[in-house]
Amino acid sequence: MTIIDCRPFLAVGISLLAAFLIAFSNNRPNVREVWSCIASVVKFGIILSMIPGVLDGNFYEYTLLQVTDTLSLTLRTDPAGMIFATLASMLWVPVNFYSIGYMRANNEGEQTGYFAAFAICISACMGIAMAANLLTFFIFYEILTLASYPLVLHKRNAEALLASRKYLIYTLISGQLFLVGMVFVYCVAGTLDFRAGGLLNINMAPKWVLQMTFVLMICAGSVKAAVMPLHGWLPAAMIAPTPVSALLHAVAVVKTGVFAVLRIVGFVFGPQLLSQLGVIDVLAWFAAGTILISSIIALRQDELKRRLAFSTIGQLSYIVLGASLLSPLAIKGAYLHLVAHAVMKITLFMCAGLIITRTHCHCISELAGIAKKLPITCAAFAVASFGIAGVPFFVGFISKWNLALGALQAGKPLYIFVWVASALLAAGYLLPVVKMVYFNHDPNENSRKYGAHSWCMLLPICATAVISVVLGVFPDCYPHFFELAEQAANAICYGWNGGW
């Protein structure tokens, strides 16, 4: 049942409003950060209040205005969108507190602009998550690009300039390709409203047109999802402050990329049409290649943030691969991994940021034995690392299990080896770090200077680490990500069993 309700727009608007308030309280840091915190909590509350309705099979829908002669700016909560909206708003709360601690501890400049841009990014994420049609989706997608640009540029030095230019080049070009693809879809189908199972069908246009449209659109999604060879911007963008890397480059921006892929696969083309078109296999090969290559590259990185960045690239392609297998379980696994990876990677990045703030070391080789001084941080890091490696009872396991089953269901069991190999590689690049901080002796233990301790940074890390364990043991605990993912996958694959 569709319920007309403006809550989706409230969720978007609350952080936009916060961005304005932040910009106007330039000179009072405490007031500024209070706005940010209030907005994050209220937004999370608004999103949570819609979950029971969505689980019951309702859709909250609201049209703000007509943007073109036939299309409108409409938000609509379906299970797939709710997963992403809940995830992003849930993680904004800890990252917000963490940001406050981090920015103050490091005496970063331009904090007003930082918090304002951050709030706009989250608004855009909400819009992307709940967009009811491609045009709405695209509008928020581009807003996200623009709002995250100043965050990449935050340091205002030569390296940040290069990184931000690279970021813009990748995202703007892909945005234009997406626009062209969208125009094709509109002209072929006459509508842009997302429909579970696909709004296009094989009779609407010649096969090659549909194939080309798919390639155009998926390229755009793949740039933000950092599928190789379109991943170049992501390691460069790690120049941004760590909370930005944490929320945006491990959760929001890249997740909008994979979310775009999932929307395109599940709601624009649909599994049935894609299995007829055949191009989806190419995407699967690229994703599989990305998983393996990026994991191998990650093994060789000594800089902690860069290692995590390449790990992100690999993990994102899990989701892309899951989507491109086109079976109900694989798509469910993809949605679950969207959640799982976000929770784990945000923990890892926040740990990395705290370690950098306290020790001023960016390289893994310098971190020997720091667990003595930073026990909780290192424990959280270890928990998240186990999750990424796919150890049972951590959140990463559930999703990988479903993805592997999905590969079987799709009749492509060879992809299971990709996942197994990458799980081993992930263990190979993360667990040595854990071993190093715990068991290696710190050569300059006495001379090492530690920065000031900050609860503001530590507590969010604990929170996300706990979440990643709880979701691993009870996958369907509140807010019911598991149930939502299952509903989303079933809706997409209605009447389609994965070609088994």
């Binding site: 205005l65 943007v67 813009l168 626009l179 002209c187």
Partner: protein
């Protein structure tokens, strides 16, 4: 009183402009205020007229000048299309007229009066060209617009005399070609009324004279709208124009001839005849060339104003290809882009005018740290720049959207490709400036007109800049309303 609203759009600024010098002599700035007041009144009348047009049953208002009905008298014909553009032109003129006040603050009565006289006449010329329903009357307004435009360009300073003279020479050729075309059409049809001419021209479609006339119109207006490769006059003219008037000159002066071209090709001659189709194809090719070369040339400039001028060449290309598609979406995109581009180009010229006013600087590599010195202007500049690139939710995105739909419907995929390439080139040269303004080291600039407030500019400049900058965003959100107006007055070809 209400039924006279169409003529008031022209009559009020005309009267005020003619009296302006007299009042300026009496009291230095009185003339300026009177012209401004008249333009505000013209804007109000334009809005009333648009409302009346949208409210009338067949969406057309005929206004016979002095109650002399055509074919003897001259008539103003207002349909949704030109009523919309009349609102646009008078609105931009109104905003820019306030903006001009600080520039003439210290001038003597002759300069204040002269500037506002020319400004008022420019407004008269543009709005007259838009609302008239008579081809010869259009020529008169075209000359009023051009002559006052030459004057305003020449007021810009030392280098501007040459630019104005060059524009005068080339512009006169354009206007003469138009007059020649009118002559041919009059010889064939014996009427000067647009509607009659359109009806009668159907009998002469195979006549070589007809082809000649269409060619004259297109080249004449092509020169005036700076359609590539007829744009030679335009970079210098925009660059050296009086900084206070550049917003209106760059924002509207080339849009009005584009409107006239649309009026002739789509309403008077109709696009379904072979001559017009051939001409449209040529316009499409020129549009593509303009979009690419204009953008590339813009990349090479160091002077902000010259860069904007070349970017206008590219943007006129958008309008041209929209025209050339010959279908409804292309038409809508083209007209919408006239509206959107007027706003964004005006905003950009107002911002650089502000920089010129305060620092006397135009080099785009010396704008570092501008976001601290002129915060509101920098934000307005950013919004307008994003709109030029065509990123949602700014206005520029929506015209690009309709143009792409039109290109797809016309099966002209090359247009889609060019639109994408042009957007990306735009992105390069506009993000370069955004980067300059917000990131780079503060440039050491000398203050010509020191400003102490936090706004960075006198209030009568900041408000116009803010209005135009916000306008870009508002137009984006409400573009469907603009499109609704345009679609209610589509040419007959598209109405089945």
């Amino acid at each position: 009183m209400m039924q006279h609203s169409p003529v008031m759009i022209v009559l009020l600024p005309l009267t005020a402009s003619l009296l302006c010098m007299l009042f300026s002599k009496l009291k230095r700035k009185l003339g300026a205020y009177i012209v401004i007041a008249s333009i505000v009144a013209a804007f109000v009348n334009a809005v009333i007229t648009l409302q009346r047009v949208m409210g009338s049953p067949d969406r057309v208002i005929h206004y016979a000048m002095g109650n002399w009905t055509p074919p003897i008298g001259i008539e103003f014909v207002l349909d949704p299309l030109n009523a919309l553009l009349a609102v646009l032109v008078t609105f931009v003129a109104m905003v820019v007229s306030f903006y001009g006040l600080p520039f003439v603050k210290d001038e003597d009565w002759l300069h204040v009066g002269g500037y506002y006289t020319l400004f008022g006449l420019l407004t008269v010329g543009m709005s007259g060209m838009i609302i008239t329903g008579d081809v010869f009357n259009l020529y008169v307004y075209l000359e009023v617009m051009s002559l006052s435009g030459y004057g305003l360009i020449a007021l810009g300073g030392r280098q501007s005399n040459l630019a104005a003279f060059r524009y005068l020479l080339i512009g006169t050729i354009g206007a003469s070609l138009y007059l020649l075309g009118v002559g041919y059409m009059y010889a064939m049809t014996g009427t000067l009324n647009m509607a009659d001419m359109g009806r009668l021209a159907a009998n002469y479609l195979n006549s070589p004279l007809f082809a000649m006339a269409v060619g004259c119109f297109v080249i004449g207006f092509g020169i005036k709208m700076a359609l590539f490769p007829l744009h030679g006059w335009q970079p210098d003219a925009y660059t050296y124009a009086h900084p206070a008037a550049a917003g209106l000159i760059a924002g509207c002066m080339s849009k009005v001839p584009s409107y006239a071209m649309i009026r002739f090709l789509y309403y008077v001659f109709r696009v379904d005849n072979p001559v017009v189709t051939a001409v449209l194809n040529a316009i499409g090719v020129l549009g593509i060339a303009g979009m690419l070369l204009g953008s590339v040339m813009a990349l090479a400039q160091r002077d902000f104003r010259r860069m904007l001028a070349y970017s206008s060449v590219a943007q006129i290309g958008y309008i041209a290809i929209g025209m050339a598609m010959g279908n409804m979406y292309g038409f809508v995109g083209s007209v919408l882009h006239i509206v959107n581009h007027a706003f964004m180009k005006c905003a950009l010229f107002l911002v650089i005018g502000g920089v010129v006013h305060r620092f006397g600087e135009v080099n785009l590599f010396r704008l570092g740290g501008m976001h601290k010195k002129m915060p509101i202007s920098s934000i307005a500049m950013t919004l307008a720049a994003l709109s030029m690139v065509g990123l949602p939710p700014t206005a520029g995105f929506f015209s690009k959207w309709y143009l792409m739909l039109g290109a797809f419907n016309a099966q002209q995929y090359i247009y889609i490709f060019v639109l994408v390439v042009s957007s990306l080139l735009n992105a390069i040269y506009f993000f370069r400036i955004i980067e300059q303004m917000f990131v780079q080291q503060e440039a050491s600039l000398t203050e010509v007109h020191p400003v102490t407030t936090r706004l960075g500019l006198p209030i009568s400049m900041v408000i116009p800049i803010a209005v135009m900058g916000l306008g870009v965003l508002v137009l984006g959100f409400y573009s469907s309303d603009v499109v609704r107006i345009i679609m209610s007055g589509l040419p007959e070809v598209f109405v089945r």
